[in-house]
Amino acid sequence: MTEIKAENWLLFFSAEQARRPAVIRQILTKRLSNSALFWGMRYQILDYINVYPQLDTQYYDYQIDFLCQQKKLKRNKDGLVSLTQLGIANKNKLKENRQLACPQLFSIYRVSDLVWMIRLLIQVASEASWENKRYYVAVDNFECQMVVKRWLKKYGMHALQDSLLHDLTEFLGNEDQLDAWIFCAQFIGHNTIPLTVQQISTLTGLTLTEIEVVSLDLTSRFALHIVESRSTLTSIIQHFRSQNSLYEKSNAALALVKQGNKIIDIAQQKRLKESTIREHILNAAIFNIDFPFFLFLNAEEENRLLQLLPDDIDKWQYKMVESEQEELSFFKYRLFAIKRSRETLEY
């Protein structure tokens, strides 16, 4: 994606809840510690994991400072940032722009690669439709080229043309006409020269970011449509599923706990530190809506934590319960924060 304008970060901030810019950055770039995940959950931005993997960290920090200077954001003494009145007004305006309808797809699929994959499929199918075998392949992604070659060997060119046209018309039929046009205007094909993002922006009056958002949004949802409709193209999309080792490790640890294993035993079995297993379990508590909190926290511990901690979970600090750290470890404290968040936040 091209450079995001500073203004767009306002969408990730709130006037009521002061937020850590670093957490937002970690979520967008998929640098996921348990702390980032926990705060990402508190900020209700977990759907945005990996939406902007190439984000330039330094530039992002600079942009947040810039928004503070412009008095659209304000920073408190702890470094937490919230929207000002001006920021709220700007955020509301931004909300009228095009947004990603399913940002969570970015943590499931490598969407930026799918953009090239779909464009390559279109070009290959288009040239074949015009019975042209010699053409300049305008997608230089070797992986995509290999994937399409393998698929064609198995299913053949006719299947590609038929499935792609069928899937596209079915999918785009339910989309906004202008968005569908933006998506298609970037396709390369036989005697079809695409438009650049800049040209589409000039023609439509939308910003560059909006054009890119539409492209990424429709690409990701078109991929989902292919999978859900069990199209023959599904295997191509599945090739671009993200390796989600954090999610897998967390669920594996949870499964072992559910089977009655103790943390210390899992650590030995996996040759990992106990603290690592605890972190995996905390992650699992964030990822899984039906997480069995009762396996780790009893009613008495929960009551005690309730007594020691204030109502606003964002104000909780472990030092508030440190006096009882023998019984109430950080693990239990964080687990309880996740549980309470689940009970109080809307999903």
Binding site: W130, A185, T196, Q198
Partner: protein, 487 residues
């Protein structure tokens, strides 16, 4: 049929051309009789056809060392377009598994493009040593010379690599080389005395040479707008910065109503393809570009090349203006320059080389070097030299020399733009050419005289701006066209 007839026959059958361009036939003939060759041929003369012809004609594997990533992929796709499927590019764009797959199947490919830094990889070296290389091509061979402006450290090892490959028949190609650079090329590549040098003049008589002194950027913008309105399109405007390229491109479109697009490395491969195709198809009047534009683009009727920033050296200037007037019709090359240009170019040139102080810090603390290499070009260069086993002291010497060379090259450019006599002869002298031209009114601008566009382009009229671009077809129509269907 004698060999020459056979060559023409093969050219027609395989490439669809009836004649060779200047220099091509001599290069191929030399290769066919087994002489390694250095080809110094101006841009647009089809240097790549020489090795493509040789590889196909003799059915031998051609290994092409190419320093420019974007050019490499373009050449791969161009070859595929011409029906050659057994072609591959090995460069940093390949992921580990992909590279492994390619190396395991290397013998399957007829044309192998290789980025020079890949030669540091032992697996790559082993793989290319295990196959028979019929022709080794060193593209942009002037990069091998520390005297040249585009010196690439990875090219230093090419002589050694060549001997590891049992000194295969070699073709070194470049668009420009002074005698000093040529000498360096021959010795660095360990080319024997039998090596033939095919050299054609850099002179392009149909390109009028001019420069326009400006006070500041606003003044430059005004001149650019004025030239674009008066000159016949299509035209190319070169910039040293991507940001400026976008910004001025937008301004030019607004002020002139011409169809303008920008082209630089910040665009994706597909976007670059889109701009190129639109330009080739006459859908654009002007391209605002960085040096990333032009390689592999063969548009015959480009009428002008304007440099918004003075380039860093005459080598790249001559290459870039060579994109104009390939149809032999009157064309023009203008450099817009202001006093601050030389400072900008000095800054850009020196930024890419580490200073002695930086080298000292890097030597003391490798961790700092490692971190810095993620962010800046000059530290990355130090890492590369370290990987090649070059000591810090030696590096210091090399960089000092490079700095001098770069500054000297910029000074040459400054001298060129402010030269009060024939600019064409200035260029010919720089490239050690022996034949000079007789200055005429279509040759170049002398001193600060006005550029008389109207009389230069009497036959060709400037474009009237097109009507505002309409929104093209609906998405359904796009799909119908793509898939050749009707609903």
């Amino acid at each position: 049929m004698n060999i020459e007839e056979k060559m023409y026959d093969y050219l027609k059958k395989t490439f669809g051309f009836t004649d060779f361009k200047a220099g091509q036939k001599e290069v191929i003939q030399n290769l066919l009789i087994g002489h390694s060759t250095v080809a110094i041929l101006p841009t647009g003369t089809g240097k790549s056809l020489c090795y493509q012809f040789y590889g196909k004609y003799t059915q031998q594997t051609v290994l092409i060392i190419s320093p420019l990533l974007s050019l490499m992929q373009d050449q791969v796709e161009q070859l595929r377009l011409n029906g050659e499927k057994r072609v591959v590019a090995i460069n940093s764009n390949l992921k580990f598994q992909e590279k492994k797959h390619v190396l395991q199947n290397l013998a399957h490919f007829s044309f192998i493009y290789l980025a020079p830094e890949m030669l540091r990889n032992e697996d790559v070296l082993r793989a290319i040593s295990s196959i028979h290389i019929g022709l080794l091509v060193i593209d942009e061979a002037h990069c091998i010379s520390a005297w040249g402006p585009d010196f690439r450290p990875d090219y230093l090892n090419l002589g050694q690599v060549r001997s590891q490959l049992n000194d295969p028949l070699t073709l070194a190609v470049t668009a420009t080389a002074t005698d000093r650079v040529l000498k360096d090329m021959l010795s660095s590549l360990n080319l024997s005395e039998n090596t033939k040098v095919i050299r054609h003049s850099v002179d392009r008589p149909n390109i009028y040479l001019a420069s326009q002194k400006t006070v500041d950027e606003k003044d430059k913008d005004n001149y650019l707008i004025d030239f674009a309105q008066r000159l016949p399109a299509p035209g190319l405007v070169y910039f040293s910065s991507k940001k400026q390229c976008d910004k001025v491109g937008e301004l030019l479109q607004q002020k002139t109503g011409l169809r303008v697009a920008s082209y630089h490395a910040g665009l994706s491969f597909s976007e670059r393809y889109a701009v190129q195709q639109q330009f080739l198809n006459g859908q654009l009047d002007v391209i605002c570009a960085t040096s990333a534009f032009g390689m592999g683009i063969n548009k015959q009727d480009i009428r002008y090349v304007i440099h918004y920033h003075m380039p860093q050296d005459l080598e790249s200037y001559v290459q870039e203006i060579g994109r104009a007037g390939r149809d032999s019709k009157q064309s023009i090359a203008i450099v817009l320059f202001s006093e601050s240009d030389q400072f900008l170019q000095r800054r850009l040139a020196l930024r890419s080389l580490p200073s002695s102080d930086e080298l000292e810090i890097y030597q003391r603390d490798p961790e700092i070097l490692k971190n810095a290499s993620q962010e800046n070009e000059s530290a990355e260069l130090v890492i590369r030299y370290r990987q090649m086993g070059v000591a810090f002291a030696k590096m210091n010497q090399i960089f000092a020399q490079r700095r001098l060379e770069k500054l000297h090259a910029i000074q040459q450019m400054v001298d060129y733009v402010s030269f009060s006599e024939c600019k064409r002869n200035f260029i010919l002298k720089y490239f050690d050419e022996v034949n000079f031209v007789k200055h005429g009114k279509c040759c170049c601008q002398i001193g600060g005289q006005n550029i008389d566009i109207e009389s230069l382009f009497k036959q060709i009229k400037a474009l009237k701006p097109e009507q505002k671009q309409e929104m093209p077809a609906s998405y359904q129509e796009i799909l119908q066209k793509l898939f050749k269907v009707s609903w």
